[in-house]
């Protein structure tokens, strides 16, 4: 059985198993299976590393009749990052979401929903079929909405409903584009669409799909649902929602713009996408600056950090001829997706530890907690280094690559936004760090197991390591990179 099939199906198999198991067997099975999926993700990355992209025609039916799956370097890297984050979240959740802490309902519900979310992510990362991606994204959205609603408070339910409305509207817009694509070309396969005979309806199809995916990726001005949803979920769920879920819809955007229909990328459209990203970086940063709760700061920071991803559109492309900086911009944006995933998951997990320790995530209540829980304070600071883009973190590599390609392309405004966004991130993350490391001993903190405290630390350390060992992921991301990203859109 290939690593690709294991990565694709093991989360599903585990989710179904968990539903049948008695409560006490649940956590050990999820942890064991998570370890297996991490191993399979590693095996898949190795297979891609040595032999190039791995493909599979599901059911033995090649497109346009069947559905093709393909693991290129980008998919393998995202699968690996997701597996690490999922594994870490499972380790933290075994302490945080036990039935005697949060009740039987949450203690049950989190595990199958987390596994279904995982299955949906891997399905989306691998699929090459526009309609299959629709089904995958719907699974992702339903599991994500349910995770937001998990805590059961009125605010969480309202946040979940608002998220649901955006997600459903996004799905339908995307579906409208899929209908037009199949109606015009008789295929849903990304590879076959790339060699299609162009039709007049293609621009409309791409526009509809893009609008739908932007709503799901929470790009400005579609970001309003994200902060209450991500801040309202239990912390391990927030970690998944913020670190992983937006990456799936972003990846589909990349597949559409760089692989399926690169011929439609006009300069103006690329500019609009990046400009929305730039506004998101600034606006998300400003809003993060005025929040009073740690989880809301971290959630608004996601709005800002997702904005950087969209600089890939004008920078990895341009006037259609080969550009030396395209590879740097492509890899920079992907580094941003990976390092943000690791660092953001670490941050939400530290927020979960603080809430468990003192029952609050208000900045005023966090004062001095780094003395009581030094490991957690250190993890938060490390993750902050990545989000600020300071060396030697993965975030630094990402922003460095994006900035050098912005200068090389002569598009210095993006470089300005990158610098300004870094300053804003430093400012909004300084506030919680200053509170945590304040000279005041916390007395009322409940003890937190060291194994739990170690989990976000490992994730944060990985986000730094991504920068220190950037050569390996850099080369992995080049494997199967679409030609338009090498030559410019």
């Amino acid at each position: 059985m290939s690593a690709l099939v294991v990565v694709l199906t093991l989360p599903l198999v585990t989710a179904l198993t968990v539903l049948l198991l008695p409560a006490r067997a649940r956590v050990p099975v999820v942890l064991a299976s998570s370890a297996l999926i991490v191993l399979a993700a590693g095996a898949l990355a190795l297979a891609v590393w040595h032999g190039g992209p791995v493909t599979l025609a599901v059911g033995g039916w090649a497109p346009p009749l069947g559905i093709a799956l393909r693991a290129d370097g980008l998919a393998a890297a995202l699968i690996m990052m997701s597996a690490l984050v999922m594994g870490a979240v499972a380790l933290a959740a075994q302490f945080e979401l036990t039935p005697d802490r949060v009740g039987a309902r949450m203690g049950f519900g989190f595990w199958p929903l987390m596994l279904l979310l995982w299955a949906a992510l891997n399905a989306v990362y691998l699929s090459r079929d526009l309609f299959n991606l629709y089904v995958g994204v719907e699974l992702l959205s339903l599991a994500a909405v349910a995770l937001v609603a998990l805590s059961g408070s009125a605010q969480a339910l309202a946040a979940a409903l608002r998220y649901m409305i955006f997600a459903l509207a996004g799905s339908l817009l995307y579906l409208a584009g899929v209908v037009l694509a199949y109606g015009a070309h008789g295929t849903l396969d990304i590879g076959l669409l790339a060699v299609r005979v162009p039709a007049h309806t293609d621009a409309l199809a791409l526009g509809l799909m893009t609008a739908g995916l932007l709503a799901k990726t929470a790009l400005f001005p579609f970001h309003v649902w994200l902060p209450p949803a991500h801040a309202g979920a239990p912390a391990p769920a927030s970690a998944l929602l913020s670190a992983l879920v937006p990456k799936a819809s972003f990846l589909i955007l990349i597949r559409l713009w760089f692989e399926a229909m690169p011929d439609l990328a006009s300069g103006a459209a690329l500019l609009v996408l990046a400009a929305l990203g730039a506004i998101a970086v600034i606006w998300g940063g400003v809003l993060a600056l005025v929040q009073k709760r740690l989880k809301l700061i971290v959630a608004y920071s996601t709005v800002a950090q997702l904005g950087y991803l969209f600089f890939i559109f004008p920078l990895a492309g341009g006037d259609g001829s080969a550009q030396p900086w395209a590879a740097g911009a492509w890899t920079g944006a992907m580094f941003q997706a990976l390092s943000h995933g690791l660092a953001k998951a670490a941050m939400f997990l530290t927020a979960g530890i603080y809430i468990a320790a003192i029952g609050s995530d208000r900045l005023g209540d966090l004062r001095g907690l780094a003395r009581t829980l030094p490991m957690t304070g250190f993890a938060f600071a490390l993750a902050a280094i990545t989000l600020m883009g300071l060396p030697p973190s993965g975030g630094f590599t990402a922003k460095y690559l994006l900035m050098t390609s912005a200068f090389a392309a002569g598009q210095w405004p993006w470089a300005l936004v990158l610098a300004g966004g870094g300053v804003l991130a430093a400012a909004y993350l300084y506030r919680p760090i200053a509170a945590l490391f304040a000279q005041r001993a916390q007395t009322a903190a409940r003890p937190i197991p060291r194994a739990w405290q170690a989990v976000p630390l490992v994730l944060a350390a990985l986000s730094i390591l991504l920068g220190l060992l950037s050569a390996i992921p850099f080369d992995l991301l080049q494997i199967g990179r679409p030609a338009p990203a090498q030559e410019g859109l």
Partner: protein
């Protein structure tokens, strides 16, 4: 000619649904509008798939999948509306126009 009638009906249904989704605060109505948009798209898709010499079975299969997915989403959305109303007494989102 009949296909054009069905396709344009589908397009009009999508438009109606979009209008209702944006204009109506009651959440059950919004869920119905989502379903109008979805079924309008499917009607358009079905008409498009019937244009060739032989009727294409793939759109039909995709539409059946889409109908089941739409039901799943509707069920979760309806559940959320009822749960929200039980806690707040309203079937509309808090900071928008409330259904009295």
């Amino acid at each position: 000619m009949s296909l054009t009638v069905f396709a344009l009906t589908g397009a009009a249904l999508v438009g109606l649904g979009v209008y209702g989704l944006l204009a109506l605060p009651h959440l059950l109505r919004r869920i119905m509008c989502f379903n109008l948009i979805g079924s309008g798209l499917f009607l358009f898709f079905g008409a498009a798939g019937a244009r060739g010499a032989a009727v294409d079975a793939i759109p039909q299969a995709l539409i059946i999948t889409g109908i089941v997915v739409a039901l799943s989403a509707s069920a979760l959305a309806v559940g959320l509306v009822v749960a929200l109303a039980r806690r707040t007494g309203h079937a509309a989102l808090p900071d928008e126009d409330r259904a009295p």
